[in-house]
């Protein structure tokens, strides 16, 4: 079965995007990528801390076959996000950029309007823009018009593992979006990733739940299987739920006169 995901100029067979944050050791990232077969992974850009000593770069742990998805974390305005995106590209990280503009420092929820403005600028500059957003149909349509390559509505706050709190709105975005929909943030269990895919999401991004598991490598494989399971269920067209019961064995009275 050829069921590929296309984002910008690239095509992916995996529908699980992963992240590099919060791993107890960078050396887990390689095995996790292998186990999860994830083909795209996020990284962040930060000022060097000279006092930190010379540990090896995160990039050294990501095979070339995996597409880098730099995020603009730390940006509180469209301008800051644009600047980070440009630096990331010039630093050789390629065309992909995850726009993350956050002004709410308590729940780390994205600022949709600043995100939209950054998307307009960066799409014009040829970036493949993946904007992280509050699930909002109106903004989703505007991001399409602004040239985004996909929309990334959140399931629940970053790192909360609360799953698809925004289920109802995400479903409406999936049903109306002309762009691929990647559910990002808050997915804490494989069942939640599978549910997003069953709803028709094109992909999910999972970082915290994998990185903070006792066994991140096994967790990565678990999420990969769940994403595939959810996708296959979507393609296999399962029946919907019924109010009443439907016997799975014949109801003919048996051994009874």
């Amino acid at each position: 079965m050829e069921d590929m995901l296309t984002l910008g100029q690239k095509t992916f067979s995996s529908r699980l995007l992963t992240g590099t944050g919060k791993f107890s050791s960078k050396s887990l990232i390689g095995p996790m990528l292998e186990a999860s077969r994830s083909e795209m992974i996020t990284v962040a850009l930060r000022r060097v801390d000279p006092t930190a000593g010379n540990e090896d770069s995160i990039l050294a742990h990501i095979p070339d076959s995996v597409t880098l998805l730099p995020n603009t974390s730390g940006a509180r305005t469209a301008n800051e996000a644009v600047r980070i995106a440009r630096i990331a590209r010039e630093a050789g990280c390629g065309e992909f950029i995850k726009i993350e503009v956050i002004s709410d420092m308590q729940f780390l929820l994205p600022d949709n309007h600043e995100t939209l403005k950054a998307t307009e600028v960066l799409a014009k500059e040829g970036f493949t823009v993946l904007p992280y957003m509050m699930p909002d149909i109106t903004v989703s349509r505007q991001l399409h018009d602004a040239g985004a390559a996909a929309v990334m509505p959140l399931g629940s706050p970053i790192g909360s593992n609360r799953g698809l709190e925004m289920r109802a709105m995400i479903r409406r975005i999936i049903d109306t979006s002309r762009l691929p929909v990647i559910v990002d943030a808050g997915i804490g269990k494989p069942s939640q990733a599978a549910e997003a895919m069953e709803m028709g999401a094109d992909a999910v991004l999972v970082n915290t739940a994998i990185a903070t598991a006792q066994d991140p490598v096994m967790a990565g494989e678990a999420f990969a299987m769940a994403v595939e399971a959810g996708r296959m269920a979507f393609l296999a067209e399962l029946a919907g739920q019924h109010h009443a019961a439907r016997a799975s064995s014949p109801l003919t009275g048996f051994l009874r006169e």
């Binding site: 590099t20 990284v43 850009l45 930060r46 770069s57 630093a91 990280c93």
Partner: protein
């Protein structure tokens, strides 16, 4: 001379970016340098002079979601 390095004023006598990186004892591999709002590729660090008042950002990629 005085420059703005990663957001704070710093004193340096490094003539160019390559020297600055060495002076700071930073591993050049995977280092990203923004010099007066322009990103400078590694091969040009040695030929990019550091001047009074320059705004320099020394950046690298870290884990992020």
């Amino acid at each position: 001379m005085k420059i703005t390095l990663n957001g704070s004023v710093a004193e340096t006598d490094s003539p160019d970016l390559a020297a600055l990186v060495t002076a700071k004892g930073i591993d050049p591999c995977a280092l990203v340098i923004e010099h007066n709002s322009r990103v400078i590729k590694q091969e040009h660090w040695g030929t990019t002079p550091v001047r009074e008042g320059d705004v320099i950002e020394l950046l690298n990629f870290v884990g992020g979601g």
